[in-house]
Protein backbone atom coordinates (compact mmCIF):
# COMPACT_ATOMS: atom_id res chain seq x y z
CA UNK A 1 0.00 0.00 0.00
CA UNK A 2 2.83 2.38 0.84
CA UNK A 3 4.54 1.60 -2.43
CA UNK A 4 1.32 2.27 -4.35
CA UNK A 5 0.83 5.59 -2.54
CA UNK A 6 4.41 6.54 -3.27
CA UNK A 7 4.14 5.62 -6.94
CA UNK A 8 1.07 7.78 -7.36
CA UNK A 9 2.30 10.79 -5.41
CA UNK A 10 6.06 10.69 -5.90
CA UNK A 11 6.22 14.08 -7.61
CA UNK A 12 4.63 16.27 -4.88
CA UNK A 13 6.46 14.21 -2.25
CA UNK A 14 9.72 14.89 -4.07
CA UNK A 15 9.15 18.66 -4.40
CA UNK A 16 8.10 18.95 -0.75
CA UNK A 17 11.14 17.12 0.54
CA UNK A 18 13.38 19.17 -1.73
CA UNK A 19 12.04 22.35 -0.13
CA UNK A 20 12.89 20.99 3.31
CA UNK A 21 16.34 19.95 2.18
CA UNK A 22 17.10 23.37 0.67
CA UNK A 23 15.70 25.08 3.77
CA UNK A 24 17.86 22.97 6.08
CA UNK A 25 21.00 23.44 3.95
CA UNK A 26 20.39 27.21 3.63
CA UNK A 27 20.18 27.63 7.38
CA UNK A 28 23.32 25.53 7.96
CA UNK A 29 25.43 27.08 5.18
CA UNK A 30 24.59 30.71 5.93
CA UNK A 31 24.58 30.17 9.68
CA UNK A 32 21.21 31.87 10.23
CA UNK A 33 20.55 32.30 13.97
CA UNK A 34 17.67 30.19 15.26
CA UNK A 35 15.61 33.13 16.56
CA UNK A 36 15.39 34.55 13.02
CA UNK A 37 14.59 31.31 11.19
CA UNK A 38 14.91 27.81 12.64
CA UNK A 39 15.97 24.81 10.60
CA UNK A 40 13.25 22.26 9.85
CA UNK A 41 15.06 19.70 11.95
CA UNK A 42 14.79 21.90 15.02
CA UNK A 43 11.09 22.63 14.27
CA UNK A 44 10.34 18.90 14.15
CA UNK A 45 12.31 18.37 17.34
CA UNK A 46 10.19 21.06 19.03
CA UNK A 47 7.01 19.42 17.73
CA UNK A 48 7.98 16.29 19.63
CA UNK A 49 9.46 17.94 22.73
CA UNK A 50 6.65 20.42 23.24
CA UNK A 51 3.85 18.03 22.31
CA UNK A 52 2.14 18.48 25.70
CA UNK A 53 2.12 22.29 25.43
CA UNK A 54 0.95 22.09 21.84
CA UNK A 55 -1.81 19.61 22.69
CA UNK A 56 -3.00 21.72 25.65
CA UNK A 57 -3.29 24.75 23.36
CA UNK A 58 -4.69 22.76 20.44
CA UNK A 59 -7.85 21.62 22.25
CA UNK A 60 -9.37 25.05 23.03
CA UNK A 61 -8.73 26.24 19.48
CA UNK A 62 -10.31 23.07 18.11
CA UNK A 63 -13.36 23.63 20.28
CA UNK A 64 -13.69 27.31 19.33
CA UNK A 65 -13.28 26.53 15.63
CA UNK A 66 -15.88 23.77 15.72
CA UNK A 67 -18.36 25.80 17.75
CA UNK A 68 -17.88 28.78 15.44
CA UNK A 69 -18.28 26.52 12.40
CA UNK A 70 -21.56 25.13 13.72
CA UNK A 71 -23.01 28.45 14.87
CA UNK A 72 -21.95 30.47 11.81
CA UNK A 73 -23.15 27.93 9.30
CA UNK A 74 -26.38 27.26 11.17
CA UNK A 75 -27.29 30.95 11.10
CA UNK A 76 -26.22 31.26 7.46
CA UNK A 77 -28.31 28.26 6.39
CA UNK A 78 -31.36 29.43 8.34
CA UNK A 79 -31.09 32.91 6.90
CA UNK A 80 -30.63 31.52 3.37
CA UNK A 81 -33.83 29.49 3.76
CA UNK A 82 -35.66 32.60 4.94
CA UNK A 83 -34.24 34.62 2.01
CA UNK A 84 -35.41 32.12 -0.54
CA UNK A 85 -38.92 31.91 0.87
CA UNK A 86 -39.44 35.58 1.55
CA UNK A 87 -37.97 38.28 -0.67
CA UNK A 88 -38.81 40.90 2.00
CA UNK A 89 -36.44 39.23 4.45
CA UNK A 90 -33.75 39.16 1.78
CA UNK A 91 -34.21 42.85 1.02
CA UNK A 92 -34.13 43.69 4.73
CA UNK A 93 -31.09 41.67 5.74
CA UNK A 94 -28.85 41.08 2.73
CA UNK A 95 -27.26 44.58 2.75
CA UNK A 96 -26.49 44.14 6.44
CA UNK A 97 -24.91 40.76 5.76
CA UNK A 98 -22.73 42.31 3.05
CA UNK A 99 -21.74 45.16 5.36
CA UNK A 100 -20.77 42.79 8.16
CA UNK A 101 -18.69 40.83 5.70
CA UNK A 102 -16.76 43.92 4.58
CA UNK A 103 -15.52 44.78 8.08
CA UNK A 104 -12.00 43.37 8.46
CA UNK A 105 -12.12 40.59 11.02
CA UNK A 106 -9.06 42.05 12.75
CA UNK A 107 -10.92 45.31 13.31
CA UNK A 108 -14.06 43.72 14.63
CA UNK A 109 -12.25 41.37 17.02
CA UNK A 110 -11.31 44.07 19.62
CA UNK A 111 -14.88 45.39 19.47
CA UNK A 112 -16.20 41.95 20.32
CA UNK A 113 -13.70 41.56 23.14
CA UNK A 114 -14.99 44.82 24.63
CA UNK A 115 -18.58 43.59 24.42
CA UNK A 116 -18.25 39.90 25.28
CA UNK A 117 -15.09 39.91 27.33
CA UNK A 118 -12.03 37.74 27.13
CA UNK A 119 -13.81 34.39 27.32
CA UNK A 120 -14.41 31.64 24.84
CA UNK A 121 -17.64 33.23 23.52
CA UNK A 122 -15.71 35.96 21.73
CA UNK A 123 -13.58 33.46 19.84
CA UNK A 124 -16.61 31.41 18.86
CA UNK A 125 -18.35 34.55 17.60
CA UNK A 126 -15.35 35.59 15.53
CA UNK A 127 -15.03 32.09 14.06
CA UNK A 128 -18.78 32.07 13.34
CA UNK A 129 -18.60 35.50 11.73
CA UNK A 130 -15.88 34.44 9.33
CA UNK A 131 -17.83 31.29 8.26
CA UNK A 132 -21.11 33.06 7.87
CA UNK A 133 -20.98 34.97 4.60
CA UNK A 134 -19.67 32.40 2.09
CA UNK A 135 -22.20 29.88 3.37
CA UNK A 136 -25.07 32.37 3.16
CA UNK A 137 -24.29 33.29 -0.45
CA UNK A 138 -23.70 29.70 -1.58
CA UNK A 139 -26.74 28.33 0.20
CA UNK A 140 -29.02 30.93 -1.39
CA UNK A 141 -27.60 30.03 -4.77
CA UNK A 142 -28.04 26.34 -4.03
CA UNK A 143 -31.64 26.67 -2.93
CA UNK A 144 -32.37 28.70 -6.05
CA UNK A 145 -30.64 26.22 -8.34
CA UNK A 146 -33.93 24.36 -8.87
CA UNK A 147 -34.88 24.70 -12.54
CA UNK A 148 -38.07 26.36 -13.73
CA UNK A 149 -39.35 23.07 -15.12
CA UNK A 150 -38.74 21.41 -11.77
CA UNK A 151 -40.88 24.08 -10.10
CA UNK A 152 -43.59 23.43 -12.69
CA UNK A 153 -43.37 19.72 -11.95
CA UNK A 154 -43.95 20.51 -8.29
CA UNK A 155 -47.03 22.54 -9.15
CA UNK A 156 -48.46 19.84 -11.38
CA UNK A 157 -48.01 17.32 -8.57
CA UNK A 158 -49.74 19.83 -6.25
CA UNK A 159 -46.73 19.79 -3.93
CA UNK A 160 -47.08 21.87 -0.78
CA UNK A 161 -44.29 24.28 0.10
CA UNK A 162 -42.80 22.02 2.78
CA UNK A 163 -42.97 19.00 0.47
CA UNK A 164 -41.19 20.89 -2.27
CA UNK A 165 -38.58 22.16 0.17
CA UNK A 166 -37.76 18.84 1.80
CA UNK A 167 -38.03 16.59 -1.27
CA UNK A 168 -36.51 18.84 -3.92
CA UNK A 169 -35.04 22.19 -2.89
CA UNK A 170 -32.89 21.16 0.07
CA UNK A 171 -31.25 18.23 -1.70
CA UNK A 172 -30.53 20.37 -4.78
CA UNK A 173 -28.65 22.84 -2.60
CA UNK A 174 -26.30 20.29 -1.05
CA UNK A 175 -23.44 20.53 -3.59
CA UNK A 176 -23.43 24.32 -3.11
CA UNK A 177 -23.62 23.97 0.66
CA UNK A 178 -20.65 21.64 0.78
CA UNK A 179 -18.44 23.93 -1.28
CA UNK A 180 -19.23 26.64 1.27
CA UNK A 181 -18.60 24.30 4.21
CA UNK A 182 -15.18 23.44 2.78
CA UNK A 183 -14.28 27.13 2.77
CA UNK A 184 -15.69 27.53 6.29
CA UNK A 185 -13.78 24.51 7.61
CA UNK A 186 -10.48 26.32 7.07
CA UNK A 187 -11.55 29.91 7.78
CA UNK A 188 -13.14 29.05 11.14
CA UNK A 189 -9.67 28.11 12.40
CA UNK A 190 -8.36 31.50 11.28
CA UNK A 191 -11.26 33.15 13.13
CA UNK A 192 -10.51 31.30 16.36
CA UNK A 193 -6.79 32.12 16.18
CA UNK A 194 -7.44 35.80 15.48
CA UNK A 195 -9.77 35.82 18.47
CA UNK A 196 -7.02 34.36 20.64
CA UNK A 197 -4.52 36.96 19.46
CA UNK A 198 -6.67 39.76 20.72
CA UNK A 199 -6.93 38.32 24.16
CA UNK A 200 -6.45 34.83 25.53
CA UNK A 201 -4.07 32.94 27.77
CA UNK A 202 -4.56 29.59 26.09
CA UNK A 203 -5.01 28.35 22.56
CA UNK A 204 -2.84 28.18 19.44
CA UNK A 205 -3.31 31.91 18.81
CA UNK A 206 -2.00 32.92 22.20
CA UNK A 207 0.85 30.43 21.86
CA UNK A 208 1.83 32.09 18.55
CA UNK A 209 1.94 35.51 20.27
CA UNK A 210 3.85 34.15 23.24
CA UNK A 211 6.43 32.31 21.10
CA UNK A 212 6.96 35.40 18.97
CA UNK A 213 7.53 37.72 21.91
CA UNK A 214 9.96 35.29 23.52
CA UNK A 215 11.90 34.72 20.28
CA UNK A 216 11.10 31.01 20.49
CA UNK A 217 11.07 30.60 16.73
CA UNK A 218 11.02 26.78 16.62
CA UNK A 219 7.93 26.80 18.88
CA UNK A 220 6.32 29.47 16.69
CA UNK A 221 6.87 27.37 13.58
CA UNK A 222 5.63 24.24 15.34
CA UNK A 223 2.45 26.08 16.39
CA UNK A 224 1.89 27.27 12.84
CA UNK A 225 2.19 23.66 11.62
CA UNK A 226 -0.31 22.47 14.24
CA UNK A 227 -2.72 25.30 13.31
CA UNK A 228 -2.67 24.41 9.65
CA UNK A 229 -2.94 20.74 10.62
CA UNK A 230 -6.16 21.59 12.46
CA UNK A 231 -7.59 23.28 9.37
CA UNK A 232 -6.57 20.31 7.23
CA UNK A 233 -8.32 17.88 9.59
CA UNK A 234 -11.53 19.92 9.46
CA UNK A 235 -11.31 20.24 5.68
CA UNK A 236 -10.83 16.51 5.23
CA UNK A 237 -13.75 15.76 7.58
CA UNK A 238 -16.06 17.96 5.50
CA UNK A 239 -14.81 16.38 2.27
CA UNK A 240 -15.42 12.88 3.61
CA UNK A 241 -18.91 13.87 4.78
CA UNK A 242 -19.60 15.29 1.34
CA UNK A 243 -18.55 12.10 -0.37
CA UNK A 244 -20.74 10.04 1.96
CA UNK A 245 -23.81 12.25 1.56
CA UNK A 246 -23.66 13.23 -2.11
CA UNK A 247 -23.34 10.11 -4.21
CA UNK A 248 -24.95 11.71 -7.23
CA UNK A 249 -23.76 14.23 -9.79
CA UNK A 250 -25.70 17.44 -10.27
CA UNK A 251 -26.90 17.71 -13.85
CA UNK A 252 -27.23 20.76 -15.96
CA UNK A 253 -28.60 19.35 -19.17
CA UNK A 254 -31.09 16.70 -20.29
Amino acid sequence: MFIKFFKKNWLPLFTTSMIFVIWELGIQIFGVPEYIAPAPSSVFATLVEERDTLWRNFLPTLFESLAGFVVGNFIAITLAIAFVHNKMVEKAFFPIAVFVNTIPILAVAPVLVLIFGNGIETKVIIAALICFFPTLVNMVRGLESVSGQMIELGRILSATKPEFFWKIRLQSSLPFLFSALKIASTTCVIGAIVGEWVGADIGLGSLIIEATFNFRSPLLYATVIVSSGLAVILFISVSVAERLIIKWKPEHSV
Binding site: S147, Q149, M150, E152, L153, G154, R155, I156, L157, S158, A159, T160, K161, E163, F164, K167, I168, Q171, I246, K247, W248, K249, P250, E251, S253, V254
Partner: protein, 278 residues
Protein backbone atom coordinates in the same frame (compact mmCIF):
# COMPACT_ATOMS: atom_id res chain seq x y z
CA UNK B 1 -48.41 30.38 -2.22
CA UNK B 2 -50.48 30.55 -5.38
CA UNK B 3 -50.86 26.81 -5.44
CA UNK B 4 -52.27 26.67 -1.97
CA UNK B 5 -54.65 29.55 -2.55
CA UNK B 6 -55.97 27.90 -5.66
CA UNK B 7 -56.40 24.63 -3.81
CA UNK B 8 -58.65 26.26 -1.29
CA UNK B 9 -60.78 27.87 -3.95
CA UNK B 10 -61.08 24.65 -5.79
CA UNK B 11 -62.55 22.51 -3.05
CA UNK B 12 -66.06 23.16 -4.33
CA UNK B 13 -65.12 22.41 -7.87
CA UNK B 14 -63.64 19.11 -6.81
CA UNK B 15 -66.95 18.03 -5.40
CA UNK B 16 -68.77 18.95 -8.58
CA UNK B 17 -66.34 17.10 -10.73
CA UNK B 18 -67.62 13.71 -9.70
CA UNK B 19 -70.93 14.55 -11.30
CA UNK B 20 -69.72 16.32 -14.41
CA UNK B 21 -66.48 14.50 -15.12
CA UNK B 22 -68.15 11.55 -16.85
CA UNK B 23 -66.68 9.44 -19.57
CA UNK B 24 -68.54 11.45 -22.19
CA UNK B 25 -66.77 14.74 -21.41
CA UNK B 26 -64.00 15.68 -23.87
CA UNK B 27 -60.46 15.27 -22.57
CA UNK B 28 -59.69 18.91 -23.21
CA UNK B 29 -62.09 21.64 -24.14
CA UNK B 30 -61.11 25.24 -24.76
CA UNK B 31 -63.71 27.88 -25.51
CA UNK B 32 -62.53 31.24 -26.74
CA UNK B 33 -59.55 30.89 -24.43
CA UNK B 34 -57.09 33.74 -24.01
CA UNK B 35 -53.79 33.95 -22.18
CA UNK B 36 -52.01 37.21 -21.53
CA UNK B 37 -48.62 37.96 -20.03
CA UNK B 38 -48.87 41.62 -19.08
CA UNK B 39 -49.62 43.48 -22.29
CA UNK B 40 -48.61 40.57 -24.45
CA UNK B 41 -51.36 38.31 -25.73
CA UNK B 42 -49.87 34.83 -25.87
CA UNK B 43 -53.00 32.96 -26.94
CA UNK B 44 -56.19 34.34 -28.44
CA UNK B 45 -59.57 32.86 -29.35
CA UNK B 46 -58.53 29.28 -28.90
CA UNK B 47 -61.41 26.91 -29.55
CA UNK B 48 -60.50 23.29 -29.32
CA UNK B 49 -62.10 20.06 -28.29
CA UNK B 50 -59.99 16.96 -27.86
CA UNK B 51 -61.88 13.72 -27.46
CA UNK B 52 -60.72 11.18 -24.91
CA UNK B 53 -58.09 8.83 -26.25
CA UNK B 54 -56.93 11.12 -29.06
CA UNK B 55 -53.32 11.82 -30.01
CA UNK B 56 -52.91 15.44 -31.09
CA UNK B 57 -49.58 16.92 -32.06
CA UNK B 58 -49.08 20.68 -31.94
CA UNK B 59 -46.88 22.51 -34.45
CA UNK B 60 -46.16 26.18 -35.00
CA UNK B 61 -43.43 28.77 -35.34
CA UNK B 62 -41.40 29.70 -32.23
CA UNK B 63 -43.28 32.01 -29.94
CA UNK B 64 -46.71 30.91 -31.16
CA UNK B 65 -47.73 29.72 -27.71
CA UNK B 66 -47.48 25.94 -28.17
CA UNK B 67 -46.00 25.49 -24.71
CA UNK B 68 -48.34 28.08 -23.26
CA UNK B 69 -51.28 26.04 -24.53
CA UNK B 70 -50.05 22.96 -22.62
CA UNK B 71 -49.39 25.11 -19.56
CA UNK B 72 -52.91 26.51 -19.77
CA UNK B 73 -54.39 23.01 -19.85
CA UNK B 74 -52.16 21.90 -16.95
CA UNK B 75 -53.07 24.83 -14.68
CA UNK B 76 -49.58 26.33 -14.79
CA UNK B 77 -50.73 29.48 -16.56
CA UNK B 78 -53.96 31.28 -15.65
CA UNK B 79 -56.62 31.89 -18.25
CA UNK B 80 -57.38 35.55 -18.95
CA UNK B 81 -60.66 35.04 -20.71
CA UNK B 82 -62.77 32.15 -21.96
CA UNK B 83 -62.96 28.65 -20.63
CA UNK B 84 -60.68 25.65 -20.25
CA UNK B 85 -61.76 22.27 -18.97
CA UNK B 86 -60.15 18.88 -18.61
CA UNK B 87 -62.61 15.99 -18.65
CA UNK B 88 -65.34 18.49 -17.85
CA UNK B 89 -63.57 19.74 -14.72
CA UNK B 90 -61.85 22.95 -13.85
CA UNK B 91 -58.12 22.55 -14.55
CA UNK B 92 -57.20 22.98 -10.86
CA UNK B 93 -59.59 20.19 -9.88
CA UNK B 94 -58.18 18.02 -12.65
CA UNK B 95 -54.69 18.72 -11.36
CA UNK B 96 -55.60 17.70 -7.82
CA UNK B 97 -57.26 14.55 -9.16
CA UNK B 98 -54.08 13.80 -11.16
CA UNK B 99 -56.11 13.59 -14.35
CA UNK B 100 -53.11 14.77 -16.34
CA UNK B 101 -49.35 14.42 -16.25
CA UNK B 102 -46.66 16.50 -17.90
CA UNK B 103 -43.43 15.50 -19.63
CA UNK B 104 -40.98 18.38 -20.06
CA UNK B 105 -38.20 18.87 -22.57
CA UNK B 106 -35.78 18.48 -19.69
CA UNK B 107 -36.25 15.15 -17.95
CA UNK B 108 -36.50 16.95 -14.57
CA UNK B 109 -35.34 13.84 -12.71
CA UNK B 110 -34.03 14.32 -9.19
CA UNK B 111 -30.34 13.44 -9.57
CA UNK B 112 -30.06 11.88 -6.09
CA UNK B 113 -32.88 9.41 -6.71
CA UNK B 114 -32.56 6.17 -8.64
CA UNK B 115 -34.71 5.62 -11.71
CA UNK B 116 -37.36 3.75 -9.76
CA UNK B 117 -37.39 6.28 -6.92
CA UNK B 118 -37.90 9.02 -9.50
CA UNK B 119 -40.83 7.13 -10.98
CA UNK B 120 -42.38 6.90 -7.50
CA UNK B 121 -41.98 10.63 -6.73
CA UNK B 122 -45.61 11.54 -7.61
CA UNK B 123 -46.82 9.02 -5.01
CA UNK B 124 -44.87 10.80 -2.26
CA UNK B 125 -45.83 14.34 -3.17
CA UNK B 126 -49.21 16.00 -2.93
CA UNK B 127 -50.35 13.37 -0.46
CA UNK B 128 -52.69 15.94 1.09
CA UNK B 129 -54.91 15.66 -1.97
CA UNK B 130 -54.64 11.92 -2.48
CA UNK B 131 -58.27 11.42 -1.47
CA UNK B 132 -59.35 13.56 -4.40
CA UNK B 133 -58.02 11.03 -6.83
CA UNK B 134 -60.62 8.50 -7.91
CA UNK B 135 -60.12 5.22 -6.08
CA UNK B 136 -60.57 3.05 -9.15
CA UNK B 137 -57.34 4.49 -10.50
CA UNK B 138 -55.05 2.19 -8.59
CA UNK B 139 -51.47 2.98 -9.39
CA UNK B 140 -49.43 0.90 -11.73
CA UNK B 141 -46.30 -0.39 -10.12
CA UNK B 142 -43.12 1.51 -10.84
CA UNK B 143 -41.41 -1.73 -11.93
CA UNK B 144 -44.08 -2.40 -14.54
CA UNK B 145 -43.76 1.10 -15.89
CA UNK B 146 -39.99 0.94 -16.22
CA UNK B 147 -40.47 -2.32 -18.08
CA UNK B 148 -43.06 -0.65 -20.32
CA UNK B 149 -40.56 2.05 -21.33
CA UNK B 150 -37.82 -0.55 -21.87
CA UNK B 151 -35.70 0.14 -18.80
CA UNK B 152 -36.02 -3.19 -17.03
CA UNK B 153 -32.78 -3.87 -15.19
CA UNK B 154 -31.88 -0.18 -14.79
CA UNK B 155 -34.21 0.42 -11.84
CA UNK B 156 -31.41 1.35 -9.47
CA UNK B 157 -29.38 3.52 -11.83
CA UNK B 158 -28.89 7.16 -10.89
CA UNK B 159 -29.79 9.74 -13.57
CA UNK B 160 -26.15 10.60 -14.31
CA UNK B 161 -25.60 6.95 -15.22
CA UNK B 162 -28.36 7.08 -17.86
CA UNK B 163 -28.28 8.51 -21.37
CA UNK B 164 -30.50 11.42 -22.40
CA UNK B 165 -33.02 9.10 -24.04
CA UNK B 166 -33.15 6.80 -21.01
CA UNK B 167 -33.71 9.75 -18.67
CA UNK B 168 -36.61 10.90 -20.82
CA UNK B 169 -38.08 7.38 -20.66
CA UNK B 170 -37.86 7.48 -16.87
CA UNK B 171 -39.70 10.82 -17.00
CA UNK B 172 -42.42 9.20 -19.13
CA UNK B 173 -42.75 6.31 -16.67
CA UNK B 174 -43.04 8.84 -13.83
CA UNK B 175 -45.78 10.67 -15.75
CA UNK B 176 -47.73 7.43 -16.15
CA UNK B 177 -47.61 6.27 -12.53
CA UNK B 178 -50.89 7.87 -11.50
CA UNK B 179 -52.55 6.55 -14.66
CA UNK B 180 -53.38 9.96 -16.06
CA UNK B 181 -56.17 10.16 -18.61
CA UNK B 182 -54.30 12.98 -20.32
CA UNK B 183 -50.59 13.18 -21.06
CA UNK B 184 -49.11 16.58 -21.95
CA UNK B 185 -45.73 16.44 -23.64
CA UNK B 186 -43.73 19.60 -24.34
CA UNK B 187 -41.06 18.76 -26.92
CA UNK B 188 -40.03 15.75 -24.85
CA UNK B 189 -37.53 14.51 -27.45
CA UNK B 190 -36.35 17.93 -28.65
CA UNK B 191 -32.89 17.64 -27.15
CA UNK B 192 -32.20 14.06 -28.23
CA UNK B 193 -30.28 12.77 -31.24
CA UNK B 194 -32.29 11.63 -34.22
CA UNK B 195 -31.95 7.88 -33.81
CA UNK B 196 -32.95 7.99 -30.15
CA UNK B 197 -35.81 10.26 -31.07
CA UNK B 198 -37.07 7.84 -33.74
CA UNK B 199 -36.98 4.94 -31.33
CA UNK B 200 -38.85 6.89 -28.67
CA UNK B 201 -41.44 7.98 -31.24
CA UNK B 202 -42.28 4.35 -31.93
CA UNK B 203 -42.32 3.65 -28.23
CA UNK B 204 -44.67 6.50 -27.37
CA UNK B 205 -47.15 5.20 -29.96
CA UNK B 206 -47.01 1.79 -28.31
CA UNK B 207 -47.57 3.35 -24.89
CA UNK B 208 -50.50 5.33 -26.28
CA UNK B 209 -52.09 2.16 -27.65
CA UNK B 210 -51.54 0.24 -24.44
CA UNK B 211 -52.66 2.87 -21.96
CA UNK B 212 -55.42 4.47 -24.07
CA UNK B 213 -54.47 7.81 -22.59
CA UNK B 214 -55.10 11.07 -24.44
CA UNK B 215 -51.90 12.78 -25.60
CA UNK B 216 -51.17 16.40 -26.49
CA UNK B 217 -47.66 16.54 -27.92
CA UNK B 218 -45.82 19.77 -28.77
CA UNK B 219 -43.00 19.47 -31.28
CA UNK B 220 -40.83 21.48 -33.65
CA UNK B 221 -40.41 18.62 -36.06
CA UNK B 222 -42.87 18.18 -38.92
CA UNK B 223 -42.07 14.46 -39.43
CA UNK B 224 -42.54 13.81 -35.72
CA UNK B 225 -45.88 15.62 -35.74
CA UNK B 226 -47.15 13.58 -38.69
CA UNK B 227 -45.75 10.27 -37.51
CA UNK B 228 -47.37 10.48 -34.09
CA UNK B 229 -50.60 12.43 -34.38
CA UNK B 230 -54.09 11.55 -35.47
CA UNK B 231 -54.40 15.26 -35.99
CA UNK B 232 -51.90 18.11 -36.18
CA UNK B 233 -52.89 21.37 -34.55
CA UNK B 234 -51.15 24.21 -36.36
CA UNK B 235 -50.76 27.43 -34.39
CA UNK B 236 -49.74 30.82 -35.76
CA UNK B 237 -47.79 33.49 -33.91
CA UNK B 238 -48.47 37.07 -32.81
CA UNK B 239 -50.91 36.51 -31.31
CA UNK B 240 -51.07 32.75 -30.88
CA UNK B 241 -54.15 31.41 -32.63
CA UNK B 242 -55.30 28.16 -34.14
CA UNK B 243 -54.41 28.18 -37.83
CA UNK B 244 -55.67 24.78 -38.82
CA UNK B 245 -56.46 21.35 -37.46
CA UNK B 246 -55.21 18.83 -39.97
CA UNK B 247 -56.30 15.17 -40.02
CA UNK B 248 -53.50 12.71 -40.62
CA UNK B 249 -55.01 9.82 -42.55
CA UNK B 250 -52.31 7.27 -41.97
CA UNK B 251 -53.26 3.93 -40.45
CA UNK B 252 -52.01 2.78 -37.04
CA UNK B 253 -49.94 0.97 -35.92
CA UNK B 254 -47.40 3.18 -37.62
CA UNK B 255 -43.78 2.21 -38.04
CA UNK B 256 -40.82 4.32 -39.05
CA UNK B 257 -40.74 3.28 -42.76
CA UNK B 258 -44.09 5.03 -43.16
CA UNK B 259 -42.10 8.24 -43.33
CA UNK B 260 -40.78 7.21 -46.74
CA UNK B 261 -44.25 6.87 -48.31
CA UNK B 262 -45.70 9.34 -50.79
CA UNK B 263 -48.69 10.15 -48.60
CA UNK B 264 -46.41 11.04 -45.72
CA UNK B 265 -44.37 13.32 -47.94
CA UNK B 266 -47.50 14.94 -49.31
CA UNK B 267 -48.71 15.83 -45.82
CA UNK B 268 -45.22 16.95 -44.88
CA UNK B 269 -45.03 19.30 -47.87
CA UNK B 270 -48.45 20.71 -47.07
CA UNK B 271 -47.58 21.32 -43.41
CA UNK B 272 -44.35 23.01 -44.38
CA UNK B 273 -46.24 25.38 -46.68
CA UNK B 274 -48.72 26.24 -43.95
CA UNK B 275 -45.97 26.65 -41.38
CA UNK B 276 -44.10 29.09 -43.60
CA UNK B 277 -47.09 31.41 -43.76
CA UNK B 278 -47.84 31.27 -40.03
Amino acid sequence: MTVQKLDNNMTNVTHDMNKTGGASAPAVSLKNAQVRFGDLTALENIDLEVEAGAFITILGPSGCGKSTLLRLVSDLVPIADGEVNVFGQHVAAARLAREFAFVFQDSTLLPWRTAIENVRLPLEIGAKHAHKRPKAKSEKSAEELLELVGLKGRENALPHELSGGMKQRVAIARALICKPRLLLMDEPFGALDEITRDRLNEQILKIWQETKTTILFVTHSIPEAIFLGQKVLMLEANPGRVRELIDIDLPYPRELPIRETQEFNKISRYLREVLETC
